[in-house]
Symmetry: C2
Subunit: 196 residues, 2 copies
C-alpha cells in the first residue's frame, strides 16, 4: 500500500525538527508494528486547496507501484485561510468547492481520508479555520469520506496551543505534531488502513 499525504506546511511538518510531522509519525507507528506501506509526504508550504487540486493527480500517479493500491490523505485549510498581501488567500466558498472537486476526482480511483486543519494562535484566523473545519466535515459526509475533526481535538488543548504560540503562531514543534499524530493514530478510519 502506498499512502500519499497531500496538504500544506502542517502536513509537511514545518517546525518539527524531527522532519516527520503527524503524517510521518503515524506511518512510523504502522511500520514499527509490521505493516507494509510506502509513505510519501507531499505537503507543501503555503499550498492551498487550489494548489493541491492542481497537482495531486500527477504527483500521486508518479508514485504508484504495480500491484499496490495508492491511498490518499488530504489535509488543508490553514494556507487557504491566511492573509497574503492583506487579503485572505482563498474565500471559504472556494475552499469548499475545491474540496468537493478534489474528492469527486480522487474517489474515482482511490480510497481517501481527510484530516481537518488545526487551530492557530490568532483568534481571527482560528475563527476562519473553525468555519472551514465545519464545511469540510459537511463535504466529506456528503461524499462518504472519513473526516477527522482535528480542530475539535486541539482547540481546547492547552499544550498544543502553547506549543504553537511558542513557535511561529501557526505551526507547532515536535510535541504538537506528536499530539496530532496520537489523535490520528486513534482514529478508527486510519486504523482500518494500517492495522495488520
Amino acid at each position: 500500500m502506498v499512502i500519499c499525504f497531500f496538504g500544506d506546511s502542517l502536513t509537511l511538518g514545518t517546525g518539527d525538527a524531527a522532519c516527520l510531522g503527524w503524517a510521518g509519525r503515524v506511518c512510523v507507528q504502522a511500520l514499527t508494528r509490521g505493516r507494509a506501506l510506502t509513505y510519501y509526504n507531499l505537503g507543501v508550504r503555503r499550498h492551498s486547496s487550489a494548489d493541491i487540486l492542481a497537482r495531486w493527480r500527477e504527483e500521486s500517479g508518479r508514485r504508484a507501484l504495480p500491484g499496490a493500491a495508492t491511498r490518499l490523505v488530504f489535509s488543508f485549510g490553514v494556507a487557504d485561510a491566511v492573509e497574503r498581501d492583506g487579503r485572505r488567500n482563498l474565500p471559504l466558498a472556494e475552499t469548499v468547492a475545491n474540496a468537493d472537486t478534489l474528492l469527486g476526482e480522487a474517489l474515482e480511483a482511490h480510497e481517501v481520508l481527510v484530516v481537518g486543519p488545526p487551530p492557530v494562535a490568532s483568534g481571527e484566523l482560528t475563527a476562519r479555520i473553525r468555519e472551514i473545519n465545519r464545511e469540510l466535515g459537511t463535504v466529506c459526509a456528503r461524499r462518504g469520506v472519513g473526516y477527522f475533526d482535528m480542530f475539535g481535538r486541539l482547540v481546547s488543548s492547552g499544550a498544543y496551543l502553547a506549543d504553537v504560540a511558542a513557535n511561529d503562531g501557526i505551526h507547532p514543534a515536535s510535541a504538537g505534531y506528536a499530539e496530532m499524530a496520537a489523535h490520528v493514530a486513534d482514529w478508527p478510519a486510519w486504523q482500518e488502513w494500517v492495522m495488520v
Copy 2:
C-alpha cells in the same frame, strides 16, 4: 533555504521504519543544530535518472518559497541498474547522458549536490553500480558539482552490507540509513550548506 532531495527508493528511505532515510537524518541533524531549512524528500520508488529528469523541475518549482533559495540534491543509479522483466532498466550510457542533462539544466538556477548510489547484496548488480558511480563522479567533476562517493564508503562496510542482506538485498533498514547519513553529514560540501 529549501532543499529538495530527488532520487529513487534509496533516497526516499524504503526499508527505514523511522521514515527518514539518510536525507531525513541529515536534515534532522541540521535543524536540531538550529539551521533554518525546509526538507522535501522527493525520492520515488523505482525512479530512474530518466524519471527524475522528467519531474525535477516541476516538483521543485512548486516547492519554491519567496525569498529562499531552492537547493537540489540528486541521488540515483540503483533503479537505473536493476533488471525489470529480464533486462537492465537503463543502459549505463543513458544514465550518464541523463545525469549530464539534468545537471546542465539544474545548474542554471540552483546549487546542486549529487550523492552516489550505494552497493547492494547482489555482486552482479553491485558491479553495475560501481560503473555508474565512477561515471557519475566524472560527469559531476566536469560540471563542477560536488559528488559524494557513497559506494566507496559502503562497499567495504560489513555492517552496511549485512543490514542490506538482512533486509531485501537492495535497501538497508534504519541502521544502514543512519550509516549513510553519518557519511553525508561529514561531507564538507554538505556541511557548507547547513552549518550555521
